[in-house]
C-alpha cells in the first residue's frame, strides 16, 4: 500500500471513529444476555396495591468463578433471576438453571449484592426480597458459592434471612475487626405521607426499619438498635452507599429515603467513642438539604480533593413539557409544616453534595448541571472516559407516568364511565426516557453526553452497574430494564481515545479476601484520584470489579497508594500505565500515623455578638403567590464606625418587625456591648450608615426603614440620630414613604458635608413595582432636603465612586431584575439622561462593593448576583424575564417570571399557579396538557403583552467590574463564587500583598421551593492574583466556616462581623497586627 493511501485510510478511520459514540450498545444475540425483567400487572398485584411495583431489579457484576472475567447477575421481580457466565470477548452463557440462583419463584426479588461472606475467596450472592408476599416468601437469600458455579442458600444459618421489605444489602467491616458485616435497607409497605408523624421516627418497625448485622465468627447478629441505626416505619430506604466520608479510617453510611423521612448520614463513631453507639446520624450537621424522593445514591470523590462527595437522585424531569405535566407542589406552608414536625430540608431534584474541608457539604447539583434526570433510579460515579475525573451515569425511567397531573385530577371521571383507576393505570402509556451520562469537566460542571456517548435510546432502566467486561481497561455499563432486555453498553474509550488506564487488583486479608473497604489513591498529571472499594453502589446493584483509574492521554508512570481497611498501607512509585497492578495485603505495613499539619488559619471564630436575628416569618407568598422568594425575611445589614472616639470600631445591626436594631460598642477586649438608642422601635431597618453629618467629628446614625410587608407610612420613615459624646438624639428628616433598601454617603455637591443616597426597593406587596430612590442634600448642619431620583428599579445597593474621574462622585446602582446603572454626577446634579445603563449586566444583583482591584488608582466594583446554582437560566440571547401588569384588572399586580429551559423561554410556574394568579387562564388551559408547551404569548394576547411592563436578566454570575477609563468592563470570578447568591461582600487585602482580596457570602434559604434553598456558600475568600485573576482560598486557610444565610459582612478593627439571617451574628478575630499567614504559594 502506498503511503498516501495509508494516510487516507487513517483519516477515514479517524473521522469515522469521531462519530462513534463512546459507548456501543451490544446486541443480545452477540452477548447472549437476553434477560427481561417482565412485569405482570394483575388485580392483586399492581402499583396501587404495592407502591414499589415499578422499582425494578438490580444487576451485579463480579467474577463468580475466579477466572478473571466479570460475570453478570440480574434479579427479576416476578421472573427468575439470571446468572450469565462471562466467556470472554463480550459473550456470555446463561447458567442460571444449573447454578441454582433463580430465587424463590413466588418471591419478589429486589436488590442484589456480591460479597465473600464466608471469606473463602469466592464471591457469594445476597438477594433481597420485598413485595406483597407473606413473611416466608420475603426471606432474603444468601447464596453461598460452592466453587463450581453452583450456589446454596444458607441465609438462615448465617443469620441473614431477614423478612423485612428489603431493597439492598451491603457488606463492609464497620467495626474494623477484619471480617465483613452487613447493612440492610428496608422500606415500609404503606406510605404514611403524614408530615406530622415525626413521633414515629423513634419507633422501630421490624419489617420497614434498616438493619445492621455484626459478623460474629461467621454468624450475623442484628445490632441495629444498639448501633444507633434508625428503624422506623417512615423509612423508605432506596439505596445505601458506604464510604469513609469523614476520612477517619472508619466506614460511614449514606442512606437515601423516599418520601418525607430524612436521608441518613451515619458517621461511624467507633474511632472516637468506642463505648457508645457505633453510628450517629449527622445528616443535619453536615448537609444543608437533600433530595425529597431520594432514590439511588453514590458516594465518591468527584473533584479529586480526596474527600468523598455524595450524589442522590430524585424525579425532576429536564424538559419543560415533562416538568409541566408532572408538576410537583410548590407549597411553602407544607414545607414549613414538614420542618416544624422535625423533618429536614428536602426538595425534588438530584443533589450533588461536595464535601468541604471541614466535613460539611455544599450542594451544587444545579450549577453542575446534574439536578434533573427524570424519574431516576441508579447513579454510579466512575471515570468512563479515562480522563482522570469520575463521570456520572444515571439509569432512569418509570413504567407509567402516574404522576401525570391530568391523570391525578381527571382520572375519576373515567371511572364514572366504568373504567376503574387500575384499568386506567394499566392503559397509561409509559414514557421511556434516555438514561443520562455526564462527562466531568473537572471544574464541578458536567456536560450531558447522552447523545455523544451513545445513550440516546429511550428505555425504562432500574438497576445499573459498571465493570470492565472485556478486560480492555475501560468500564462498560449494564442496566436491568423493565419489560425489555437488559442492556450492556460496551465502552470504546480504549479503542477510540488514546486514554490510558490503571487497573488495581486487590488481594485482601484472610477474613476479607477481596479487600472491601480499601482506599486506592493514584497521583497522576497533578491530580489525586481516590477510589474506595465498596462495590455496592447505585440502585439495587453491585459493581464488584477491579478498580479502574483513567490516566488520560500521554500517561506517565504514576504513584499508587493503598490503604487497607485496617489501616495498613503500601505505596508503589513509577507504576506504568495500561496494566493491572496486583496488590497484596500481606505486603502492606502498618501506617505511620502522621497528623496532617493544618495551616494556621487567618481567622478564628470568636465570641460573637449578642444579637440573634429573628426571621419575620410572615409569609410573602400568601400575599403574592408567585414571588420568587420571601421578602419579609430580610436583613440584617450593618454599619460600622467608632461612635465614641475610643479608637475601637463599633457596630449597628439593623432590626426588623420582630426585634429592634441595636448599636454595639466595642470594648477594649474586643467584645461588644449594646447601647440603647432612644426611639428605635421594632422596625425593619433595611440599611444604616454611621457618618458625621453635622461636622462635629462624631459619627451620627442614619437608618433606612421599610420592608416588603410594611404598608404603614410611619414605619417606612427613615430616621437620623445625632451623636453628642456617644449620646444619640433623634433628629427629624424630610418625610418619605419609600421602601428603601440601602443608604450611601456621598458629597453630591462637593460642599464639604455629607449628603445621602437612599435606594428604593420593591413596593410593599406590589412586587415587581419599585419605590423611588432619592438624595438627601445636607446643609452642613444635618438639615436635609429630599431630592427624588425617580424609580430606578428594585434597587438593592449602590456604590459611590468617581467613575469618570471628573472629580464629582457618581453612583453605581444595582438591584434585582435591573441592569448595573451608573448615575453620572453632573456638577452636583443627577439627571435621567446622564445614566449609563449596562443592559448586558442586567442581573439579580443583591450587593455592590468598591475596591481598587487592579492597583490603577481608581475604584473597581464587585457585584453580588444570584449565581448559577439554581434552575434559572439567563443570557443576552435568552434573558430571564419578568412580565407584569394587572392582567385581570383586579387591583393586584400579576407578574410572571420566565426563563429558558433547554433553549426556549417558558413561564416558571405550574398551570395551577398561573391559573390561581389569573383565574381566567383556566379557560385557556383546561388541562395540564394544554399548558405543556405554553409560553407567555400563549397566556395573553399581543395587546396585553405589549401593554405590560417587563424586567429582564441577562447575567446571573457574580462579577468584578473593572473601571477602565469610565467604562465598566466585567471579569468573571471562579465558579466557586457562583454556587449561591452573594449578599455580602468585603474587599480587604487579606494576604497583605497590596491588592484587595474578596470575601463573598450569601445564600438564600427562603426562595420559592421550585427554585429551592441555595446555600452552598460556606464563606468564600478569593485571593486577588492580579490581572483580574482570583483564586479560592481554602477554608482551612481562612478559618471561616459560615453556614446559613449571610446578609452582611463588616470589618471592625481586626474582627470580622457576619450578619446572619435567623441566627446569632458571628464574629471572627483576625491576626491583630501580625504578619500575613496567607502565603501565595500555599
Amino acid at each position: 500500500m502506498k503511503p498516501y493511501l495509508v494516510c487516507l485510510c487513517c483519516l477515514l478511520l479517524f473521522s469515522c471513529s469521531e462519530k462513534v459514540p463512546l459507548f456501543e450498545k451490544t446486541d443480545q444475540k452477540a452477548t447472549g444476555i437476553a434477560f427481561i425483567n417482565q412485569l405482570q400487572e394483575t388485580e392483586q398485584e399492581n402499583v396501587l396495591a404495592f407502591e414499589y411495583f415499578y422499582n425494578g431489579g438490580g444487576v451485579a457484576a463480579g467474577d463468580l468463578n475466579n477466572d478473571g472475567l466479570i460475570d453478570l447477575f440480574f434479579t427479576g421481580n416476578q421472573v427468575a433471576n439470571k446468572l450469565y457466565l462471562n466467556k470472554g470477548e463480550m459473550t456470555f452463557t446463561d447458567i442460571s438453571g444449573k447454578a441454582g440462583v433463580g430465587g424463590r419463584p413466588t418471591g419478589w426479588k429486589t436488590g442484589v449484592t456480591l460479597a465473600d461472606v464466608n471469606a473463602d475467596g469466592w464471591l457469594d450472592i445476597y438477594i433481597c426480597y420485598s413485595g406483597l408476599r407473606p413473611d416466608s416468601l420475603r426471606q432474603n437469600q444468601l447464596l453461598i458459592n460452592n466453587h463450581n458455579l453452583t450456589f446454596t442458600d444458607r441465609a438462615v444459618e448465617y443469620g441473614l434471612a431477614d423478612r423485612g421489605y428489603s431493597v439492598q444489602a451491603t457488606f463492609f467491616d464497620y467495626d474494623r475487626d477484619g471480617d465483613l458485616d452487613c447493612f440492610l435497607i428496608n422500606h415500609n409497605l404503606k406510605n404514611y405521607q403524614r408530615k406530622e408523624a415525626a413521633v414515629m421516627r423513634y419507633e422501630r418497625d421490624a419489617n420497614a426499619g434498616d438493619k445492621l448485622f455484626r459478623n460474629e465468627n461467621g454468624h450475623f447478629v442484628d445490632v441495629s438498635e444498639a448501633a444507633g441505626i434508625r428503624g422506623n416505619a417512615l423509612g423508605f430506604g432506596l439505596s445505601c452507599a458506604v464510604s469513609d466520608i469523614n476520612g477517619d479510617g472508619w466506614p460511614d453510611i449514606y442512606v437515601t429515603n423516599d418520601f418525607v423521612e430524612d436521608d441518613y448520614c451515619y458517621i461511624n463513631q467507633q474511632g472516637q467513642q468506642p463505648a457508645g453507639p457505633a453510628f450517629r446520624d449527622e445528616l443535619r450537621q453536615r448537609i444543608d438539604h437533600t433530595s425529597y424522593s431520594a432514590m439511588g445514591a453514590d458516594v465518591a470523590d468527584l473533584n479529586n480533593d480526596a474527600r468523598p462527595d455524595i450524589m442522590t437522585l430524585d424525579m425532576m424531569p429536564e424538559s419543560n413539557a415533562r416538568q409541566k405535566t408532572l408538576p410537583w407542589p410548590d407549597n411553602w406552608n407544607v414545607y414549613q409544616a414538614q420542618l416544624q414536625n422535625g423533618f429536614w430540608h428536602q426538595n425534588m431534584r438530584n443533589m450533588l453534595q461536595i464535601q468541604q474541608p471541614n466535613g460539611q457539604f455544599a450542594e451544587v447539583g444545579q450549577l453542575a448541571g446534574l439536578s434533573a434526570t427524570d424519574w431516576s433510579w441508579g447513579v454510579v460515579l466512575a471515570d468512563f472516559d479515562l480522563d482522570g475525573f469520575k463521570d456520572v451515569f444515571v439509569s432512569n425511567g418509570i413504567l407509567r407516568d402516574f404522576t401525570n397531573a391530568d391523570f391525578i385530577k381527571f382520572s375519576d371521571e373515567a371511572e364514572l364511565t366504568g373504567r376503574p383507576v387500575l384499568e386506567q393505570i394499566r392503559q397509561m402509556p409509559s414514557t421511556p426516557t434516555n438514561n443520562y451520562i455526564f462527562r466531568n469537566n473537572g471544574d464541578l460542571t458536567f456536560t450531558n453526553e447522552q447523545e455523544g456517548w451513545g445513550f440516546s435510546e429511550p428505555t425504562v432502566s432500574n438497576g445499573c452497574a459498571y465493570a470492565d467486561l472485556d478486560n480492555d481497561g475501560d468500564l462498560d455499563i449494564i442496566t436491568n430494564n423493565l419489560n425489555e432486555t437488559a442492556r450492556v453498553y460496551r465502552n470504546t474509550s480504549r479503542e477510540t481515545k488514546e486514554a490510558a488506564y490503571l487497573s488495581i487488583h486487590l488481594n485482601g486479608s484472610t477474613a476479607n479476601p477481596f479487600g472491601v473497604g480499601t482506599t486506592v489513591t493514584v497521583d497522576a498529571n497533578g491530580q489525586r484520584q481516590t477510589q474506595e472499594f465498596y462495590p455496592t453502589r447505585g440502585f439495587e446493584s453491585c459493581s464488584h470489579g477491579k478498580l479502574i483509574f483513567g490516566l488520560g492521554p500521554d500517561a506517565k508512570p504514576v504513584r499508587v497508594r493503598i490503604d487497607w481497611p485496617d489501616g495498613r498501607t503500601q505505596t508503589f512509585n513509577g507504576v506504568m500505565p495500561n496494566i493491572t497492578l496486583p496488590v497484596h495485603y500481606k505486603q502492606a505495613v502498618p501506617a505511620t500515623t502522621s497528623k496532617p499539619v493544618l495551616p494556621t488559619a487567618l481567622f478564628e471564630s470568636s465570641a460573637g455578638i449578642d444579637f440573634r436575628h429573628q426571621i419575620d416569618s410572615s409569609n410573602s407568598f400568601d400575599r403574592q403567590i408567585l414571588l420568587p422568594m420571601q421578602y419579609t425575611a430580610s436583613g440584617p445589614r450593618m454599619a460600622t464606625g467608632d461612635v465614641n472616639n475610643d479608637g475601637q470600631e463599633d457596630i449597628f445591626i439593623g432590626g426588623n418587625a420582630k426585634q429592634a436594631g441595636s448599636l454595639f460598642l466595642q470594648q477594649p477586649d474586643g467584645s461588644f456591648s449594646p447601647q440603647l438608642l432612644p426611639g428605635l422601635g421594632a422596625a425593619a431597618n433595611a440599611d444604616a450608615v454611621l457618618a458625621d453629618f453635622n461636622g462635629d467629628k462624631q459619627l451620627d446614625l442614619y437608618v433606612v426603614n421599610g420592608g416588603y410587608a410594611v404598608n404603614d407610612v410611619a414605619k417606612k420613615q427613615d430616621q437620623l440620630w445625632l451623636n453628642t459624646k456617644g449620646m444619640f438624639t433623634a433628629k427629624p428628616i424630610p418625610q418619605e414613604a419609600e421602601n428603601g433598601s440601602c443608604v450611601k454617603v456621598i458629597d453630591v455637591d462637593r460642599d464639604g458635608d455629607l449628603d445621602l443616597f437612599v435606594g428604593g426597593f420593591v413596593k410593599p406587596f406590589r412586587f415587581p413595582a419599585d419605590d423611588e430612590s432619592f438624595l438627601l442634600i445636607n446643609d452642613g448642619k444635618a438639615n436635609f432636603t429630599k431630592r427624588s431620583l425617580g424609580r430606578l428599579g428594585m434597587v438593592s445597593d449602590a456604590a459611590v465612586l468617581d467613575v469618570d474621574r471628573d472629580g464629582w462622585p457618581d453612583l453605581v446602582v444595582v438591584g434585582e431584575w435591573m441592569p448595573v446603572t451608573v448615575l453620572r454626577n453632573q456638577q452636583g446634579k443627577f439627571s435621567a439622561d446622564q445614566q449609563t445603563v449596562y443592559e448586558n449586566l442586567a442581573g439579580w444583583w443583591n450587593r455592590i462593593e468598591k475596591a481598587d482591584l487592579d492597583g490603577d488608582g481608581d475604584d473597581d466594583l464587585i457585584v453580588g448576583n444570584m449565581g448559577l446554582n439554581t434552575g434559572i437560566k439567563a443570557s443576552e440571547e435568552l434573558p430571564a424575564t419578568l412580565t407584569y401588569d394587572d392582567f385581570d384588572l383586579n387591583g393586584t399586580l400579576d407578574f410572571f417570571m420566565s426563563y429558558a429551559i433547554q433553549g426556549k423561554v417558558y413561564p416558571a410556574y405550574s398551570r395551577d399557579e398561573i391559573c390561581e394568579q389569573v383565574p381566567t387562564l383556566r379557560k385557556r388551559f383546561t388541562t395540564y396538557k394544554a399548558y405543556t408547551d405554553a409560553s407567555l404569548a400563549d397566556c395573553f394576547d399581543e395587546q396585553q403583552l405589549s401593554q405590560a411592563k417587563s424586567r429582564r436578566i441577562t447575567e446571573l454570575r457574580s462579577l468584578v467590574l473593572e473601571n477602565r477609563t469610565g467604562t465598566l468592563v466585567p471579569h468573571s470570578l471562579p465558579l466557586s463564587a457562583q454556587v449561591a447568591p452573594v449578599y455580602a461582600i468585603l474587599a480587604n487585602d487579606f494576604d497583605r500583598d497590596g491588592t484587595a482580596d474578596l470575601l463573598l457570602m450569601g445564600n438564600n434559604s427562603r426562595m420559592r421551593l421550585r427554585i429551592g434553598k441555595v446555600d452552598a456558600n460556606h464563606g468564600l475568600m478569593l485571593r486577588n492574583l492580579g490581572n483580574w485573576q482570583f483564586a479560592e482560598v481554602s477554608p482551612q486557610q481562612t478559618g471561616l466556616y459560615v453556614r446559613g444565610d449571610v446578609r452582611d459582612i463588616k470589618k471592625a478593627g481586626n474582627q470580622l462581623i457576619v450578619g446572619m439571617s435567623g441566627q446569632k451574628a458571628l464574629t471572627f478575630s483576625g491576626p491583630a497586627g501580625k504578619q500575613s499567614r496567607l502565603k501565595r504559594n500555599q
Binding site: 406510605n191 418520601f259 406552608n333 402516574f402 375519576d412 371521571e413 383586579n890 394568579q917
Partner: protein, 451 residues
C-alpha cells in the same frame, strides 16, 4: 357524487316542505311544552358536572350556582305576573333589560339561555356545554318555537345573563384571587392536613359581596371552645368525642358520613401514585335535593326556579357567613390534634377538607338551605335522595328536608372532621341565614301574605 348531492338537496327540500306544512304552534302551546322543568334541570345538572370537573371549592361553587340561577329566574320573571324581579332586593342588584312589549317569547328558553350563558362564563371547561347545548336547544325548536321567537328568546336570555354577569363582576371575587391564608403554627390554629396538605380554600371569602345579608358577620356564631388539652376542658371533651366516635364507627354512621361527604376533591394517595375522587359540593348536593323534591311535587317551572334561586342564596350567604367565622376563629382540625397528642396513626373516616374547622360548613349551609326549602316546598315532605348514587355514595331516605339537614350536620362528627359544637352552633347560624333570606327576598308579589 353528483347524484348524491342532488339527492341530499332533495331531502332538504322535503324536510323544509314538511316543516312548512306543519301548523305553527301558538305561543301558549310551545311555552307550555317548553316550560317542562326537566329542561331547566338538565341545564342545572350539566352545570353540576362542569363544577365537579373543574374542581371548584364549595364556596366558589355556591357562587356559580347563585348567579346562574339568578339569571334563570330574572329571565323568567317578566312573564309571570305573580312573581317579581329581585332588582332592589339583593344587595346592589337592579332589574335587567325588559322583554320587548308586544313580541312573542319562549320564556323557558330565555331562562335556560340566561342560565347556561352565566354557567358558561363562570366555569372553565366550556366544551362540556358545546356538546350539551346543541341537542338541548333543539328541543325548543321541536316544541314548535318559531325561529324568530327562538332567536329573540335566546337573545333575551343572553341579555339577562350579561346583566347578571356585570353584577357578578362587582362582587369582589376577582379581587380576592391570588392570596393565601397565613399559617402561623400557633397552638390550636389551623394547619394543612394530610394527605395532600392543600392550602386553605378561600381565605378572603368574607370579602365577597353578601347577597341578602347586611354584613358577613351578621350571624356570627357563638365563640368556639378555647383550645385546651387539659383533661376535662370543654375542648378536650369534644376532641375526645371525635376520637372515640371515629374508633367505633357503626356501619350506619359510616354510611351517613360517606353519603354527605360532598368533598369536591378527595386525594387518594398510594405512594407516588395519587388520584383525586371528585364529587358534588355541598351546594350542588342541596340544589340536587331541591330538584328531587320539586320533581316529586310536580312543581311548575316558575316555582321550581324560585326554589333554586332562593336556595342558592341561602347557600351563598351561608358560605360567606361560615367562611367569615372559619378564618376568624382559625380552629385546628381534630385530625391534627389527635395525631399530635393522642394517636399518631388515627385517620378520620372522611378526608379532612382544606380549611379551618369552625363552624361546620355543611351544618351552616345545609340548615340554611333546608330552612328556605321547607318554607317553599313544605314541611314533612318525605323524599329519597339518590343524587350521589352515581358517585358511589348510596341512597338515603328522609322524612323531611330538615331531617336531611340534621343528618348532613351530624355526619361531620362521624366523619371525624368536626367537633360537636361546630355542628350545633353551625346549625343555629345556618337557620338564621335561611330565615333572613326568606324575610328579606320577596319573589312573589304577594309573598308577605303567602308566608
Amino acid at each position: 357524487m353528483n347524484l348524491l348531492l342532488r339527492y341530499n338537496s332533495l331531502l332538504v327540500v322535503l324536510v323544509l316542505g314538511l316543516a312548512g306544512c306543519q301548523k305553527p304552534a301558538t305561543p301558549a302551546e310551545y311555552n307550555a311544552k317548553a316550560a317542562n322543568p326537566a329542561y331547566y334541570n338538565a341545564a342545572l345538572d350539566k352545570l353540576t358536572q362542569v363544577v365537579i370537573h373543574d374542581i371548584f371549592s364549595p364556596p366558589v361553587a355556591s357562587r356559580i350556582y347563585a348567579y346562574a340561577n339568578l339569571a334563570g329566574y330574572e329571565a323568567l320573571v317578566p312573564f309571570d305576573p305573580n312573581y317579581e324581579s329581585l332588582g332592589g332586593q339583593l344587595k346592589r342588584f337592579q332589574s335587567g333589560p325588559k322583554p320587548e312589549p308586544g313580541k312573542d317569547y319562549c320564556f323557558p328558553l330565555a331562562s335556560a339561555s340566561a342560565f347556561l350563558t352565566v354557567a358558561r362564563a363562570l366555569t372553565f371547561s366550556v366544551d362540556f356545554y358545546d356538546e350539551f347545548e346543541k341537542p338541548f336547544y333543539e328541543q325548543y325548536k321541536k316544541d314548535g318555537v318559531p325561529d324568530e321567537v327562538y332567536d329573540r328568546s335566546l337573545a333575551y336570555g343572553e341579555a339577562i345573563a350579561k346583566h347578571v354577569l356585570d353584577y357578578a363582576a362587582k362582587d369582589n371575587y376577582k379581587q380576592t384571587r391570588g392570596f393565601k391564608h397565613t399559617v402561623t403554627n400557633a397552638d390550636g390554629t389551623w394547619v394543612p392536613t394530610p394527605p395532600a396538605y392543600m392550602d386553605a380554600a378561600e381565605p378572603q371569602w368574607n370579602k365577597l359581596r353578601c347577597w341578602a345579608m347586611d354584613t358577613c358577620n351578621q350571624f356570627m356564631p357563638a365563640r368556639p371552645y378555647a383550645y385546651n388539652l387539659t383533661k376535662g376542658s370543654p375542648y378536650q371533651k369534644e376532641l375526645q368525642e371525635v376520637y372515640e366516635i371515629g374508633k367505633s364507627l357503626s356501619k350506619q354512621q359510616q354510611d351517613i358520613a360517606y353519603f354527605w361527604d360532598d368533598n369536591a376533591f378527595v386525594m387518594n394517595v398510594a405512594g407516588h401514585v395519587s388520584y383525586a375522587s371528585k364529587k358534588m359540593t355541598p351546594g350542588g348536593h342541596w340544589l340536587a335535593i331541591a330538584e328531587t323534591v320539586a320533581r316529586q311535587k310536580k312543581m311548575a317551572l316558575m316555582p321550581t326556579v324560585e326554589a333554586y334561586v332562593l336556595t342558592s342564596f341561602a347557600l351563598t350567604d351561608g358560605f360567606i357567613s361560615c367562611w367569615d367565622e372559619k378564618y376568624r376563629s382559625n380552629t385546628v382540625r381534630p385530625e391534627t390534634v389527635i395525631n399530635k397528642h393522642v394517636d399518631p396513626q388515627w385517620t378520620p373516616f372522611l378526608q379532612t377538607p382544606p380549611f379551618p374547622e369552625y363552624p361546620s360548613g355543611h351544618s351552616v349551609i345545609s340548615t340554611a338551605a333546608a330552612t328556605v326549602m321547607t318554607n317553599l316546598m313544605g314541611d314533612n315532605i318525605a323524599f329519597t335522595d339518590s343524587t350521589e348514587f352515581k358517585y358511589g355514595h348510596g341512597v338515603r331516605s328522609f322524612k323531611s328536608i330538615r331531617e336531611a339537614a340534621d343528618e348532613a350536620s351530624i355526619s361531620r362528627l362521624y366523619g371525624g372532621i368536626h367537633y360537636r359544637s361546630a355542628m350545633t352552633n353551625g346549625q343555629i347560624e345556618g337557620e338564621n341565614v335561611g330565615k333572613w333570606i326568606l324575610q328579606k327576598i320577596h319573589t312573589r308579589k304577594s309573598s308577605v301574605a303567602n308566608r
